[in-house]
Structures are given as C-alpha cells and as structure tokens.
Symmetry: none
C-alpha cells in the first residue's frame, strides 16, 4: 500500500451563475472558451454541489469552512474572528474579535463618514500603532489594520461575552453605545464603549489626522466595532486529516479561514484577490506548495469581483484566464494527485451578489471514472456521475480518492 | 438591489406514477400531450423530488407541509388539527382536534353504517347546530361539519392529552370506548367518551334524523371521533419567509394546511377538489392572487382522484387538461416570477393509492439554467440539473431563486 496521494482544491470564487439574457440565456461558463477546464471535466468525474445546503446562500467564509470539511453551522462564530485571522491576529479561546471601520466623527460623536474618506495604508498602519498596549475596562485590546479603511479589534481577557450590539451605527448618525444583549455581556459592552471613546481621544489629535485635515482629507479619528464573535474552538486541519496544508489566496478573509484551521498562508503576488491577479503565477505557487505539502487550498477571487459588478462579458474573459491557470495545473500536477475544481458559491451577474444555487464541481485524478461530461459548466457537471453533493462532503470524498481514508468497520 | 421576486408552487396532486401496462409500460405523464408543461421543462431546470424522503409514502398533509418548507417530522401532529383547520376551526396551543364520522348506530351502540348512509349537507350542517355549546367532562367541545359524512371535533380546556384510542371502531361492530394510552390522557378519554354518548342522545331524536328515517335514509345519530392530535406550534409562513401568501385549493385538508401556516385561503369555483374542477379558472385566480401577494400555493386534486380510481386513461386526460392550466400560467406569469411544477406524491394507478416514489419537478424563471430536459415526466425530469432533492429543500431553493435569501456568513 503506497502512501496517500496529494490533494488540491481550486476555488474559483463566485464562478457559478444563472442564465444570462445578454449571453443568449446561457451562463458565462457555457459561453467561455476553456479547453483546459473542459479537459478536467472530460477526464474526471463531475457533479453539482450545494456548498452549504440546497438554496442556502453562502458567504465566502462559511463556504470555505464547508469546503475544508467543517460544518459551518457548528464552527462559524461570526465574521470578526475570521477577519482578524485574515490579518494575522489569531485569538485564543475566550477572546472576542470585532471588525472595525476607521470613521470620521465630529466632537459630538456624529458620524460624518463611515469610511473616513476611504482612508488606507500607510495612514491606517500609522494610526493603529498609537493604540498599542491599550487596556479598556481592564481588558486587553489589540488592534490591527486591515484592507483600506478596515481594521480588527481583539478583546482578550476573562469573562467576555460576544452578545453585544454594534458601536457602528451603520448609518450617518451618532455613534451608538454598545449594549449587552445578555447580562453576562455587560463587561464586554463596557470594554467596547471605552475602546471607542479612547480611540477617539487618541486618534483625533494624532499627527496623521492633523496632516489629513491640512490636506483637506477626512481624518480617521475613531474606530467603530461591529460583528463581534468569539474565536471558534476548531479542530486543526492537520489533526483532522493528518496532512499538512497550504492556503494560496489573495483575499484576507480566505487567508483568515486558512489560518484558523492551521493551513500555512503562502505569499501571493501583489494584485492577488482582485481582477488584476496573475493566475498563472498563482497556479505555479500552488504547484510548488504541493511539492512540499499534502494539501493545497487555492482561491481565485477575480470571478467573484466581476460578478458583483454584474459584468457578464468580463466574467467570460476572467473564465478564459482561469482556463490558462487550469492549463498550468494540468501540466504540472504531481502524479496521482487528486484535484477538485469548484466555486465557493454562485454569484449570478443578474443578482450582483452570492446566491444559493449549486456550483459545478469536477474531481480529477488518474483513476477518476469518466462520466461523459464534456464541459465544465453548471448544466454539464450537474449531469455527471457525482450527482448532487454537499460542500462538507467534498473533503471526505477527496480524502478517500487520495487513498487516505480510514475504514469504518472491518 | 431590487425587491425579491414572486413565487408560485403548482401541486398537481398524485401526478407521478409508475409504468402502466395498458399504456405500454409508460407513465400517464409520458403518454399525455402536454406542450405547455413541456415548455416549462424545456425552459426551466428539472429534477426529481422525494417529498418526504426516499421511499417514504406521504399523505397530502405531510407532503404539503414539506413543500412549504416545514419538516413534517417536527410539525405534523396528526390529521385531526389539519382537518379542523380545513373547515376553518383553528385551535389554540393545548387544544386537541379529532376527525369524526357521522355514523348510524342502534340503541345498543352497534354501528350499522360508518357513514350514516353517506349523509351530507345540509343535514350534517343542521345536526351539528344541535351540538353547539356542548361541555363534556368539563371540557368545551366544538363541532363543525366537513365534507360529506365527515365532521371535526375540537376539545378545548386545561390538561388535555392526545394519547387516546379512537371511539370509531373502524368496522361494523360496537362503538369503542376511548382509552388513555398514558395516565395523563384519562381526562381526554373521558371527554371523548362523554362526547360520543351525548352526541347520540342529542342526534338520535333530532328532527333531521326523524325525517331521514321516514324517507328510508339512515340517520346520522352519532359522531365517532378518531385520529386526535394537538394543534401544532408552527412558525407562521409570513414570519418565516417575510412573504404574504395565498392558498388556492379546493380540498379541505390542503386549505387546512394553508390556514395553519397562515396563508390566505382563496375562494375557488364550485367543483374544485374533484375531477370536474375548472383548472383554467383556478389558474386565473392563482395569477390574480400573485398580483397582490408574494407567494401562491396552488393545488389541483383531479389527478389524484382518478389515480385512486386506478384509471390510467382518465389520468392521461386529466394531465392534458392540466396542460391547459399550464398554458394560462405560462401566458400570465409576472416578469421574473419563479414557478415550480410538482406533485405532492405519486399515486400510481396500479396501486390505487399514494406511493413513496419521487415526483417530477420543474422550476422555471427567466434566469433558470436550461438543462436539456424536453418533457415534464418522471424519467425526463430525473435527468435534469436539479438532481434528486427533498421536498423540504424546495422552498429554500425557490426563495433563493427569487433573490430573497439571507446570506449565511460574509
């Protein structure tokens, strides 16, 4: 019995779609020229996959948890902890993480701009430094800047409870006091409120903001936390599967998922996570990772970005670029490796957002049964031999295809 | 982001079938001419659906609950409450409802006819009036006449328990005493037994029955309760989905399901619920409802009626009439609306009753992916891109297709 084979999951973010009027009621996948993705479909086994469940509309975080074999209904504790992990801030059990915006407020705490004039690095990086070592209501507060006007706040201490309301008013109005939703959360609400107050005191007079005002820019003079969640108690990927794995992704949230489950986060080229991403370079990085690891999760965000813009023609172009990436993977895949091509959810261009439609799935390895599917698209894959499966079943299937699964019984 | 789209479910009752010898081992759907149903299949996405689960043989009540997105294993509390709701008798939590038959008994409580010579309105309506304000064992007893020889009994009071045996002997023998199956149900059994006794005392001498005897008809001189169940604690449809909905059905039991979940019950033409139903009129009513509501559930019973008769040729004819209804829906469907064609269960003509075979399903909206299915029938739909789904997943799928679903995660 030889050793288990290697596994790669290629997540083409938001790839699946619905019938698009301007494409003659076909989907972008049905219209695009993609001989390499089709080659995998022709030589692999295909199906359609409800990443969470039929009709359930996934976020990118819950869907990637499912694709890694974790039940999101069990382990998903809100966006905060995964955003925090995305920027490298991993909490311990009991810690609570919040997403924050740098915002602009006047002296009476009226929100003038929820994004502080779309402030970004290096200003945000500079500003969070001023908050280092902060303690609020006796609780340690760790802040880190994230993409653009975003940051994360991690509260670390005893007796915290995530059931508090947001300080972010989500509108142009007064900053809200965080309120406890259960009595045990009083201390957490107090900490959030003190954090908001202190952030204003420290940031309002900060040299970066003085300069911004002089330049006619809005100051990032307060941090507004929202969406608090506790760090999940999640079984590490390596413990669960006995495999070391890497995560090749440009998007912070996906890196966060990878980091929380214990995948190694690999550096990717600048521009990764957007439409300008060099997919071929990313495929080469993923293949290199697979040389030294058992498992690689790869996410390419571009297909989701153009879908949120509702741009069907761009989506077809992006798919044709994804096919170039598939060509590199086809040529460089280690012998015996098992590779899955899928999406984390559909993002129909007609909806401008995620949907709960099932995504097309192809699993390829040298020993895959060929089911006659000729094209990697929503309709063709749905008629494949895998039938309709759930996202959380993907890892067990790949794991078994890689000859790694334990026998249940004798 | 535009508002959610409208949703219609068309339940063609008992439509699915098995291979029928006299139809050359085809199903009635495979033999019937139905260009409009086929149009929906050609332009929509199809699948096969286990309304409850594989091989599980649904009743019309459990199946409609599933089709509305409720798990019948959680919310179905027996036929009594849904029959009661069907005739407009909605109980409160703690109330127990029974189905009843008007029966004919002699003075020694021997059942002569379980249906009292198929007594019906206006006699039954007149008879139940005599039972108004009845109290049995200190419990309020509300009676209402239902279709033909049927009625419903609702017990309302403290400390009731549904675990009692039927007073209806289900055979031509002596009326049974209701017995408690658990000690807590003693009071309920007492109430049932006193109700049966009092119904005989009041009805036997009733002028309607005196006249019936003179006309040589059997008297409906007793009511025999069976199938008691508590009113379910069910989340209202509008709360669950944020949509107002209507139920367009002729059959009392289906109206009951609609009423229990809070759908508006719409008046349908006389004859609806049988084979003489004017399906085209019903389709027009359903379309009119969809103008002012977000959701319509439509049930057409005729296909089930002829199936229970085992009449394959009639079933083919009924399907061709259903196609006329589909034509009206095709021409009148509001822009963007999502429509599903399905059955609540199969009723194979060779079985004369419901079966657990999966039912054919087609979901159509403008953005449906076309899966190449050419005909709306059991075999063709099973090869569609929806694969094989469960009844309780239908509503989440339609809800998402109508762009109404919430995102799980970010």
């Amino acid at each position: 019995m030889e050793a288990g084979k290697k596994i790669m999951i290629v997540v083409m973010d938001g790839l699946g779609d619905r019938a698009v009027k301007e494409l003659g009621y076909k989907t972008p996948l049905q219209v695009a020229k993609k001989p390499n993705l089709d080659w995998f479909a022709q030589n692999g086994t295909s199906g359609s996959m409800d990443v969470i469940g039929p009709g359930i509309r996934p976020g990118s975080d819950t869907s990637h948890l499912a694709l890694l074999g974790y039940d999101p209904y069990e382990v998903y504790t809100g966006r905060g902890p995964f955003e925090a992990a995305g920027v490298g801030l991993i909490g311990r059990k009991g810690d609570i993480a919040f997403r924050c915006n740098f915002a602009t407020v006047d002296q009476k705490m009226n929100v003038m701009d929820r994004r502080a004039g779309r402030i970004k690095e290096p200003d945000t990086t500079e500003l969070v430094k001023a908050l280092e070592g902060l303690k609020v209501a006796g609780i340690e507060a760790v802040v880190k800047d994230a993409t653009e006007h975003r940051a994360v706040l991690l509260l670390r201490g005893e007796g915290l409870d995530p059931h508090v309301t947001d300080a972010d008013p989500h509108a142009i109005t007064k900053v809200q006091l965080s309120r406890p939703l259960v009595p045990e959360a009083q201390r957490t609400a107090d900490a959030v409120n003190e954090f908001v107050k202190r952030s204003f005191e420290i940031l309002d007079a900060h040299p970066v903001n003085i300069r911004r005002r002089e330049q006619g820019l809005l100051p990032g003079n307060i941090l507004l936390p929202r969406g608090g969640g506790p760090f999940p108690d999640i079984e590490p990927f390596e413990k669960r599967y006995g495999m070391k794995g890497s995560c090749v992704a440009g998007v912070s949230l996906i890196k966060g998922i990878g980091r929380v489950v214990g995948l190694e986060i690999v550096d990717v080229p600048k521009g990764s996570g957007g439409t300008s991403t060099d997919m071929v370079a990313k495929a080469r990085i993923a293949l290199k990772e697979l040389e030294r690891k058992d498992f690689v999760l790869m996410n390419i965000k571009a297909s989701d970005v153009v879908s949120h813009d509702g741009d069907a023609r761009r989506k077809v172009e992006i798919i044709e670029r994804l096919d170039g990436m598939a060509k590199v993977l086809r040529e460089g895949l280690p012998e015996g490796a098992v590779i899955a091509f899928c999406a984390d959810h559909c993002t129909p261009v007609s909806r401008f957002d995620h949907s709960g439609d099932p995504v097309p799935l192809t699993i390829y390895s040298e020993t895959s049964i060929k089911d006659g599917v000729q094209s990697y698209d929503e309709v063709s894959c749905a008629k494949g031999a895998l039938g309709r499966i759930r996202g959380k079943d993907l890892m067990p299937i790949l794991y078994d295809r890689a000859d790694r699964s334990e026998k249940f019984g004798a």
